[in-house]
């Protein structure tokens, strides 16, 4: 169990925006990963005052555990309302864990075109990576056990909130 209280996700969004702001480029676009990453990307767009629409991707068709898990969860359509070709992108997710979702997202983005660059922004990095991936921007580093699941949810009034689940 955690020996501390879960931090406030909204405050962390502001901290993450502060980290990104000095390195913003004019044509930069945010791409949020469904669903937690999409919420965080929407917040960041507001906080950073970006005019460009954000992109949203659902990595279900690119996951490496398809053979084991199949297509069950409700797949949301990816929407990339801009030309990816030659553009600097910031990929946004709520939690960085094994790195597999990030890999799937990068693969999917390349099927839209060749971006100039992709950086990774996450609200929380909970360690235990299984792939050589690290975040460029991260608001919270926390070491969690594999039996624990860190979940971001949008409460009433759209307020983002962390919760922690224990799995046997």
């Amino acid at each position: 169990m955690l020996a501390f209280e879960l931090p406030d996700a909204e405050t962390q969004c502001a901290e993450l925006a502060d980290l990104i702001r000095p390195r913003l480029q004019p044509d930069m676009v945010l791409v949020g990963i469904h669903s937690g990453g999409a919420w965080v990307a929407r917040r960041l767009r507001e906080l950073l005052g970006l005019r460009n629409e954000i992109g949203l991707i659902d990595v279900s068709f690119y996951r490496d555990d398809y053979r084991a898990r199949g297509l069950h969860a409700r797949v949301k359509p990816s929407s990339i309302p801009f030309d990816v070709e030659g553009r600097p992108l910031i990929l946004v997710d709520d939690v960085l864990y094994t790195g597999r979702t990030t890999r799937a997202a990068i693969n999917e983005l390349f099927d839209y075109g060749r971006p100039a660059s992709i950086q990774l922004a996450v609200l929380a990095d909970r360690g235990r990576r299984q792939l050589p991936i690290c975040a460029d921007f991260c608001a919270w580093r926390v070491d969690l056990d594999a039996s624990q699941e860190l979940i971001l949810s949008a409460e009433t009034g759209d307020r983002l909130q962390w919760s922690l689940a224990e799995h046997a």
């Binding site: 398809y66 359509p77 990816s78 070709e85 099927d111």
Partner: protein, 319 residues
């Protein structure tokens, strides 16, 4: 009751018929299809889901259109696709259906897309695979006899949902040769499962199956009555090649009574959509002014059909 399409966990493992499919499964397919629809707009029109899998199109009955759409769908999922013209090879040499299947399983087939003139052939194959203990091999029915054509039924539902959003207030008229139409049967089962308010079967007595009312449809022998105030018109092809005996006086006579002309279509709601599974016989069941008119959604049906078949194959191969 054992449902041959579902595995022990209640997940879809074969698609044989819409009859008996839970509403949640149909909705899951349609939702997944809408995500696949976007893939076709991209730079790279492929996702890696079925990479390394082999999909065998086994058509015991000719259908270039359906075979092609399955082939495109499988290729957009990155599968390897093998088209077998069995009518001209193994079967012609006397091999049985299940021997053909065993041979293809030995070639490491992961999925069969089956079209057969005999109703129940895909079911027979699925049953055979279950007895072999090969629950990793999946069967998609691409049309069997006059029984079912589930992917056409699903793409019709996708089309209706796309234009009408909700099924509960809809009146849907299915017009034409329902007797020989596996599409009509699949549509009726799907519409009933999805809760359409009214499904009408419209056609001459000779082209309607006996006791079709038992499927929960309203029978209309008069086209005008059948079309009045409906939201969706599904026209069926007059299947000349299936006609045995004198069911109709002539194609011209049929058009006079059951052909969809602008005048007849005006009886439906002003925003009614007109669908047709193709191939169309212009001047037999549908007037060109309607087929090319603003209410026709016949070509969008084709585009949606690819996404729906991608969804079906993507879901099956993962279960």
């Amino acid at each position: 009751m054992h449902n041959p399409q579902l595995n022990a966990n209640g997940e879809l493992t074969h698609l044989l018929s819409i009859e008996g499919l839970p509403r949640a499964v149909i909705n899951h397919i349609l939702d997944t299809a809408s995500s696949f629809l976007k893939v076709s707009d991209r730079n790279v029109r492929k996702v890696p889901l079925l990479r390394g899998k082999s999909v065998f199109n086994v058509f015991f009955e000719n259908s270039t259109r359906t075979r092609t759409t399955f082939e495109i769908a499988a290729k957009r999922l990155s599968a390897d696709v093998i088209n077998l013209d069995v009518t001209r090879s193994s079967t012609a040499k006397g091999e049985t259906l299940l021997d053909t299947v065993d041979n293809l399983v030995a070639m490491h087939a992961d999925m069969f897309v089956v079209r057969h003139a005999a109703s129940g052939a895909p079911h027979l194959i699925a049953d055979h695979l279950r007895r072999l203990g090969r629950n990793d091999v999946h069967v998609v029915n691409a049309g069997d006899g006059s029984h079912a054509h589930p992917t056409q039924g699903l793409l019709d539902m996708y089309t209706i949902r796309h234009y009408k959003k909700d099924f509960t207030n809809l009146a849907v008229a299915i017009v034409g040769d329902i007797l020989h139409s596996r599409v009509a049967r699949s549509d009726i089962h799907a519409l009933t499962t999805l809760g359409a308010a009214e499904v009408r079967a419209v056609g001459p007595q000779t082209l309607l199956p006996t006791a079709i009312e038992k499927m929960g449809v309203r029978v209309c022998h008069d086209l005008g009555t059948g079309l009045r105030d409906c939201d969706v018109v599904i026209m069926l092809r007059l299947q000349n090649e299936r006609m045995n005996g004198a069911l109709l006086p002539s194609a011209r006579e049929y058009f006079r009574c059951y052909g969809l002309t602008p005048t007849m279509l005006a009886l439906a709601k002003p925003d009614a959509i007109v669908m047709h599974p193709g191939p169309m016989n212009r001047g037999v069941e549908i007037d060109s002014d309607v087929a090319d008119g603003p209410q026709a959604v016949i070509l969008p049906q084709v585009t949606f059909g690819i996404a729906v078949r991608m969804a079906v194959m993507g879901i099956l191969a993962g279960n």
